[in-house]
Symmetry: C2
Subunit: 236 residues, 2 copies
Amino acid sequence: MNIDFTDEEKNGLYKAIFSRRDVRSNFTSEPIDDKTLSRVLNAAHHGPSVGFSQPWNFILIKDITTRKKIKESFDKEKERSSHIVQEPKKSKYLSLKLEGILDSALNICVTYDPSKFGPFVIGRSSIPETGIYSVCCAIQNLWLAARTEKVGMGWVSILSNEVLKQVLDIPEHVLPIAYLCLGHVSKFADKPDLQTLGWLPRLDLKDVVYFEKWNRTQDTMWEQIRNMIASNLDYA
Amino acid sequence: MNIDFTDEEKNGLYKAIFSRRDVRSNFTSEPIDDKTLSRVLNAAHHGPSVGFSQPWNFILIKDITTRKKIKESFDKEKERSSHIVQEPKKSKYLSLKLEGILDSALNICVTYDPSKFGPFVIGRSSIPETGIYSVCCAIQNLWLAARTEKVGMGWVSILSNEVLKQVLDIPEHVLPIAYLCLGHVSKFADKPDLQTLGWLPRLDLKDVVYFEKWNRTQDTMWEQIRNMIASNLDYA
């Protein structure tokens, strides 16, 4: 495969990254065709994995009875978590639409199976959690691929993993990592909903980049890039 | 932003996904220019994050003294982990090049700070680990963006997090998630090294996809896509 990317190919990757959204609404009734679904699953399956362990599984869910059980868990967890927020944020939080479990075309539960190719997996001995990190990278592939296919995806994290395991017959040693809702959408929002709503601002890039050590924001060796990031020059 | 992707833009995303490699060798001496580095960091910063918490930081490292200390930790951990592998795999494992800490242009430590915008982060109450998952998704953005810029990246996971924290002055409450080596390369391998070496095979997509419940590989509602995936029709 050619090492080079054309400008348009490169632009395609950045466009997917910058226009990807965590989608909870605007799902249409259009089904996801099998070829599109195969492509996004294949993209996920080509994620990086520690020691090439490929420790992921994808459970595709359409069944409405299953989804209703998951939605019940969401409702319960959302209510429960609202008790730790103070007003006026509490009311705002409760009014947010945070899932599309029933109104999306498809749900996918992505799981982590540490026993796959185990017990010795190259690179997983010192930091065992890297197996989980691999699954997350695969999920991001799926998310970006879905975006280029005009399929919106939302990650529902207000759930009980115990309920997920029970409802989906997931064995004890396997960990659910993500519960995803996918479907074609009428539009993608320009910005993340929580940014638009004023819940939280997007941080400046300069505030998340350090030089050589934690919390070091000035460094002679890094003067030029620090200025570039800080002055918001067009680096996109 | 236009919801649609042109075929070439879409191809750019898939090309990045399928040709991304975990790079440990073939680094050239060409430095990564500041604009390119800013772009890939910005791509990472536009990863998804639970409750828009953006809990990541990126410590850019060039200092050779720092890198040597990290390399020492790698050597120690690699030796340590080799004791849990049996021959003949042990010798093969020990012969593998698994890092480019000193021969890459740049190292980046990516960290997770749960205190950012906390303690209440939307969607993080039921499954606190979702904060870590966000950081992993950002890393995958960085990896893909680097690939389109012809910058190879390798994730070194044979390390002690305690050493990383100590060497980089990372505070107690912050968790190192990844230690990355980046640099321009003379080539990208066609396949993952561990696949080429015959260490592990790539699984078939059909073997990682289940329908409706864990381990269910047959389902009337899913017949068509099951066949498509199983017969390896061209879904890429």
